[in-house]
Amino acid sequence: MGNVTDAGTETKRAGFRSKNRPTWCPGCGDFGVLGALDRALTQLGVAPHDVAIVAGIGCSSRFPFFMDTYGFHSAHGRGLAVATGLKAARPNLTVVATGGDGDALAIGGNHFFHTMRRNVDLTYILMDNQIYGMTKGQTAPTSRRGLKTKSTPRGNIEEPVNPAWAALTAGATFVAQGTSFDMNSLAEMLLAGLRHRGMSFVNVLSPCVTFHREADKQYFKDLSSPLPEGHDPTSYPAALRLLDESGDQHPLGIIYQERDGRAPYGDDVDALLDHPTNERAVLEQLLRRYF
């Protein structure tokens, strides 16, 4: 990242963008994601103070600072846990989580898995640059097999994780995939994700221009393709088949959206609550149990 300590650098804010100039390298894919989310939130029509963006650690996780919403930049891999806590405690907030491929799928893999399966009512945007950007270019869980980086000088020996597949098979009820350079489509997907009740996951192919030169815009273009004609995003088996058969190709668009699906985790949690008018009386009664 260009300059991580930019407390002083301000830019004109517009929409949901904060006045802090993003510290990303010029040309970083994450700018496109920022623009797309700005647009999607604007279209959603929610007030900035009713939105919170929660992130882990990584270039992509700096996101909260660049948006004029509430924001929490947590610890590496823990964004989804913090976001879940926030959403569970304050169900009326629109909570967006952001992270990178390492943050989401390496150290944060367990929270990823459980957040997807719980169907928490969040929108999670993963900026997949197939590298650890923030730490200057090591192999990430989404790096292709054979990739030579500083940490795998003899080539990556692992099969890459496919984030959309991981989210879909773990139980997310909305799975979409976009690129940072097609901001229009991305904004649409994000808007649909924000409107979805339950876990919406959006994987974004987003180049790291500084530490992963190979995976540039063209590379991601070659790696992705539009959804096949007639794909039914409401069919889980169809979504499964699509991703399984796509192999390393990344279909772009809304891959899956559960229709009339399960209630999100938040609803389930809320359904258990009593809302006593006289809390003290309830407490007295609870104490009496132990008398």
Partner: protein
């Protein structure tokens, strides 16, 4: 420096008396309703000269005999009748295959330990008599079944009263299953519990199952009472009248859960772990009843992460775990610290390290609680000494967390979490629960999250959802708006901010000293301790003082930051020897004292003597009494000479 003479409280959590009245034969005891736990109030006289203010009872039986129920029913009845009770289960039984065993101490005031050797043994099987009768104290009582074998050698004056539990149970209920309730009847009659109360407790317990079981068991209880009345024991084991104020009977884990709910916690995320699991289980039931949300999640890291998220959302949050879970949480403790996110973490300590002995007791997580995280953040660490503390210190932890916007850690331990003790019914109206004031919106001026302050107190937070209060924060070093900044001047400012916070917490720690936990005076010997060991030490030292021994003590609940002014006064009160008791090997608390009061200890030439134990079982009062013996006067001299010889239990600090 002239030492102070303070009026101090009796170690029973709720009673005051005047220390100058050491030679009085009776005391006016005032149950204090200003206590932080908001307990009720009552005044009564107790005679220090009473032959008996408490009784130690051991219950023994085979695994299926219902020993735990026996203890619970007896304890519950005593509690409701206004007595203080402390129980201890399981530790005794661990290595004695198939045998179940539980000890209770019941008394008026001053009950802090389950006692050492029992005065009364009630054994539902012969094995219990064979193995425990020889431990019964002189002039004690053995209530065993009719024996086939011979009874073992016993202490002087121990009486044996054979009771045919099986027969009495069968007679009353048609089966032997209620023999434990027969024993309840016997014991309740012996110590003089109100019959109606006992019957009611028995009835309630079995009434849940079926009316006929209820009636049958009440009959079994009565049969026991009758057998006791028919015996020649008389009043020897009768307790004096209690204060008559019914008490709650709780385990430490239940008390923590209740404390959390009463203390305003409305979000909980957790993961099961022995011996903390019941906190989560209890909370799972309690919290939703007051609109609070409880989640069981994938691990302890997620637990704390979710609490941070919920607390960022403005909802008071808590998690509970044991050592291994606390270890996993230390990264995020730093995150809570730097982002000034209040939350409560309860650590029910068990014997470590690593998986260690999950069902055994220990107090070796203090270092982790105080030092656990990379870098430096202010935090507060509290420790419960009693089950009553498990309630009141959970409230205190939530208060401190929110007042100072820091992570507050509360340490309890296996021996508290799973033993039942009486707790005065908290006066919820009097309970102080800190209410955080949030930024209210644009009318409230411009919002600056980390407003500089000179007094170390935090600045207001803004609840997400509040117009005009938008801010971002997290784990990076930042400026007053929460925005990342690595500027050296800004950094120094924030380091100083955190330091001032810690200093403010020192003041809070001093303010949290409850009178009953401190005795100053021109004592040559002072005793200090923390957590469960402190309760036992408190009981022992109180007894020793009543025996005329010249001992000061300090048993703080806030163990980090240390109460500086209090400890300085304590150390400057004329001490030559400071005895530090704790259930670990590495002298964690003693080392905190040494590190933070090196100058004071050095200047006064105070010798630090450490009493440690780390075998998985909690301290018994006898062990602490024994450890203190070298520093006691022989009863004729009123002051000791120079500092006494080093005691064998003084294990030199490790590794230095």
């Amino acid at each position: 420096m002239e030492p102070d003479r303070w009026v101090h409280r009796d170690p029973a959590d709720s009673a005051w008396f005047d220390s100058s009245a050491k030679d009085a034969t009776s005391l006016r005891v005032v149950v204090d309703h200003h206590a932080p736990s908001g307990m009720g109030s009552a005044t009564f006289e107790v005679s220090l000269m009473d032959a008996r203010r408490s009784i130690v009872i051991r219950c023994e039986g085979s695994a299926g005999d219902g020993i735990i129920s026996l203890g619970k029913v007896l304890a519950r009845a005593a509690a409701r009748a206004g007595y203080h009770v402390v129980t201890l289960a399981s530790f005794l039984a661990e290595v004695r295959g198939g045998q179940s065993s539980l000890q209770l101490k019941i008394g008026v005031g001053n009950v802090l330990s389950p006692g050492d050797d029992p005065e009364v043994l009630v054994a539902l099987n012969e094995q219990g008599v064979r193995e425990v009768a020889s431990h019964v104290t002189a002039a004690g009582l053995v209530l065993g079944p009719p024996m086939n074998g011979s009874t073992p050698a016993m202490a002087e004056g121990v009486r044996v009263l054979p009771i045919d539990y099986d027969a009495l149970s069968t007679e009353a209920t048609g089966g032997t299953r209620s023999k434990n309730i027969v024993a309840v009847g016997v014991l309740a009659a012996l110590i003089g519990l109100d019959e109606e109360v006992v019957r009611k407790v028995v009835a309630e317990l079995f009434g849940k199952r079926a009316a006929d079981a209820e009636a049958a068991n009440v009959r079994a209880c009565d049969a026991g009472a009758k057998a006791a009345a028919a015996s020649e024991i008389g009043d020897a084991f009768r307790l004096p009248k209690s204060d008559g104020v019914g008490k709650l009977l709780l385990s430490g884990n239940q008390a923590v859960a209740l404390g959390a709910v009463a203390g305003g916690v409305r979000f909980y995320a957790g993961y099961p772990i022995t011996p903390a699991t019941e906190i989560m289980e209890e909370i799972a039931d309690l919290l939703p009843r007051v609109g609070g949300r409880m989640l069981q999640v994938e691990d302890e890291i997620a637990s704390l992460g979710m609490c941070i998220g919920a607390s960022y959302g403005g909802v008071p949050s808590m998690t509970a775990t044991s050592g291994p879970g606390l270890s996993l949480m230390v990264e995020l403790i730093g995150l809570a610290g730097i982002s000034e996110t209040p939350l409560v973490i309860v650590d029910v300590q068990r014997a470590g390290p690593s998986t260690g002995m999950p069902t055994k007791d220990g107090q070796a997580d203090l270092d982790l609680a105080v030092y656990g995280t990379h870098g430096e953040v202010p935090r507060v660490v509290l420790a419960a000494q009693t089950v009553a503390d498990c309630f009141s210190q959970t409230v205190a932890a939530a208060n401190l967390a929110h007042e100072y916007q820091v992570p507050a850690l509360l340490l309890t331990s296996m021996s508290l979490s799973h033993s039942l003790q009486t707790v005065e019914v908290p006066d919820l109206a009097a309970l102080k629960v800190y209410q955080e004031t949030f930024y209210a919106g644009p009318a409230d001026g411009e919002f600056v999250r980390f407003q500089p302050t000179e007094d170390g107190r935090p600045s207001r937070r803004s609840k997400p959802g509040t117009p005009g209060g938008i801010y971002r924060t997290g784990g990076l070093e930042h400026n007053d708006r929460g925005h990342p900044s690595f500027d050296p001047d800004q950094r120094r400012e924030m380091v100083r901010r955190r330091k001032l916070r810690s200093q403010a917490l020192v003041v809070a720690s001093d303010a949290a000293i409850e009178p009953h936990s401190l005795v100053l005076g021109s004592h040559r010997v002072g005793v200090t301790s923390w957590g469960r060991a402190a309760a036992i030490a408190r009981e022992v030292v109180t007894e020793l003082r009543q025996e005329g021994q010249d001992i000061g003590y300090l048993f703080p609940h806030v163990v980090w930051p240390l109460p500086k002014a209090t400890i300085r006064r304590f150390l400057a009160s004329g001490l030559r020897t400071l005895v530090v008791c704790e259930a670990n090997e590495n002298q964690q608390f003693a080392n905190l004292l040494r590190a933070n009061f090196a100058t004071e200890l050095g200047r006064a030439g105070i010798e630090v003597v450490t009493v440690n134990k780390d075998d998985g079982n909690p301290f018994g009062p006898g062990e602490i009494r024994e450890a203190l013996r070298p520093w006691l006067s022989d009863g004729t001299a009123t002051t000791l000479g120079e500092v006494g010889p080093k005691h064998p239990l003084d294990s030199a600090a490790l590794p230095s």
